[in-house]
Subunit: 328 residues, 2 copies
Amino acid sequence: MIGIKQIAEEAGVSKTTVSFVLNGRHKHGLCISEPVAARVLATAKRLGYVRNELVQAVVKGRSHVIAIIAHFSEICMPIVTGYSDEAAAHGYSIRLISMNGDLEAALMKAVAARVDAVVALGIPVEFRTPAMEKFIRYGIPIFGLEAETHLLFFDQTHAARLASEHLALLGHRKIYCCHEDSEVQDLRLEGYRAAMREHGLEESIIHTAHLDVDELLATGADAVFCSADHIALKIMHDLYLRRMFVPETLSVVGFGNTAAGKQASPALTTVNEPYYETGVLSCRSLLHRLETGKELELQPLSSELIVRESTAVNTKYNRHEAGEKKPK
Amino acid sequence: MIGIKQIAEEAGVSKTTVSFVLNGRHKHGLCISEPVAARVLATAKRLGYVRNELVQAVVKGRSHVIAIIAHFSEICMPIVTGYSDEAAAHGYSIRLISMNGDLEAALMKAVAARVDAVVALGIPVEFRTPAMEKFIRYGIPIFGLEAETHLLFFDQTHAARLASEHLALLGHRKIYCCHEDSEVQDLRLEGYRAAMREHGLEESIIHTAHLDVDELLATGADAVFCSADHIALKIMHDLYLRRMFVPETLSVVGFGNTAAGKQASPALTTVNEPYYETGVLSCRSLLHRLETGKELELQPLSSELIVRESTAVNTKYNRHEAGEKKPK
DNA sequence: TTGAAAGCGCTAACAC
DNA sequence: GTGTTAGCGCTTTCAA
């Protein structure tokens, strides 16, 4: 592996000069003569020199690496990819630290690698505080423990409102919301509520644990907003087993725009959750804080409704009855 | 950040002694007295010492980092996770290098970071050779360019044979294979062929580009083996639009065990493709080669059939006709 | 405009 | 058993 020293010898100058040229000091501070600079650059290229970033990191105390600690699963890939791409754009790179139970061990690895920052993805609350105490004294900033990126940079509630509203605009009156227990889904539930309120419709909320399609149908449900795609898929599946069709029987909306929804029969109407973009934004904000010390203000991403086959206009009520707000 | 020097001062010994103790030399070569070792260890812990791996890497010329270069997409997450977990188990860690068009740039980043090895995932053939030439002279081993991990460590053909055989065993006679153009899918096609041969059935192969469900049905197809889940899902979708049911109309088998298949209606029968395990194995083999210089012989993973709802016994033919090999 | 020399935190011959 | 010393490849003061 050829280094700065070889270049210096070849070009007949000192290591310092080479270092200066390689760091572009001759442009800014103009301390080196044109011909020398050119010669150094030329020999560097000829010799195929590649800077040793490890050493640079040691000397400068900044590694330009940010660690992501997570129990890597399907779901966090797009976020990680977002981080990786944005980091690359700023000259940083991502180091993965698998966390299999022991947060403290993972954090120590990050310290050992002298990363410039660590971001923790999807770490259960119980792990958070204890390990932290020991960690902060190393002075490495840590992100993502207070709130997940998809909470901070994406307006869950608004997206859910969009999805629920879509059902109302199609003329549905008895619109259920089917949800599970989770921090995110609570926000989505809020969105559903807002939509119902706005359209003067009654709230009908049901937890997946108590979901029974037959009962649901018996109540005269027109449509159901599910606070996650997989819930919607589950309902459609239950209907399929009964050989009942969607959206004739029931209009169904999901949340998340997962691949499964896209490929389902019928293709699922949903709102997308921009994981990748969320990763990008999150990384950008982190880097900004790291380099300027200031907070970067950016407004949360909003969602778009993806209308596919699982929702249709409701023909059960006549137009007069259906709506103060009429279907679009 | 506290270092080896502070420990030495605190414990009243030299840096060397500390270094030896910290590296466990006192166990192996027994060059340090018990009490001293204990004292050093104690002060190290008390001061919260964490070794600077950057420096270690510089000095020893081994960074214990392996770079993964890819255009990170949904599909490569499980592989990456496999790598990350296995790497962690061997004291290595993974560094992500996003490759957005420029392989050479990505490779140079790997060199700059002085990673111990790089693995390239899913790099299109046209990129491969050109950038490589310049890279090899840096002496960093590169893996994954000749063949993808899911080709090397997983028996695609056998898995496809399993899936196709499942249909034959259910008493189907006219079994189609629906496929696309790709290196992997060619292997799967081979598995289908083997199964047909073995069961004395005729091959009926159709490319997705020419797929038309109505025509397919018109030929009297009993079942179809799809060389990827999404193809199966597409067929089921086409049937759904015609309000025809699976598996009554047609038994359908996929390949890959994607989330979409699991959540589909009906739930898709398929064979699983162990991406995660494939990543683990691939990483293990890489690390073995790196540390011992020898090739690690490991036999490719085999697959398991996952029977769900999209396949059923064929009742169209009477038992006598149906089979030399009878349904299980 | 250039170069010598000190130092970043650690390892490893080689002495004592 | 333990300490001295010379590096690893690069940055950066300070002097020439």
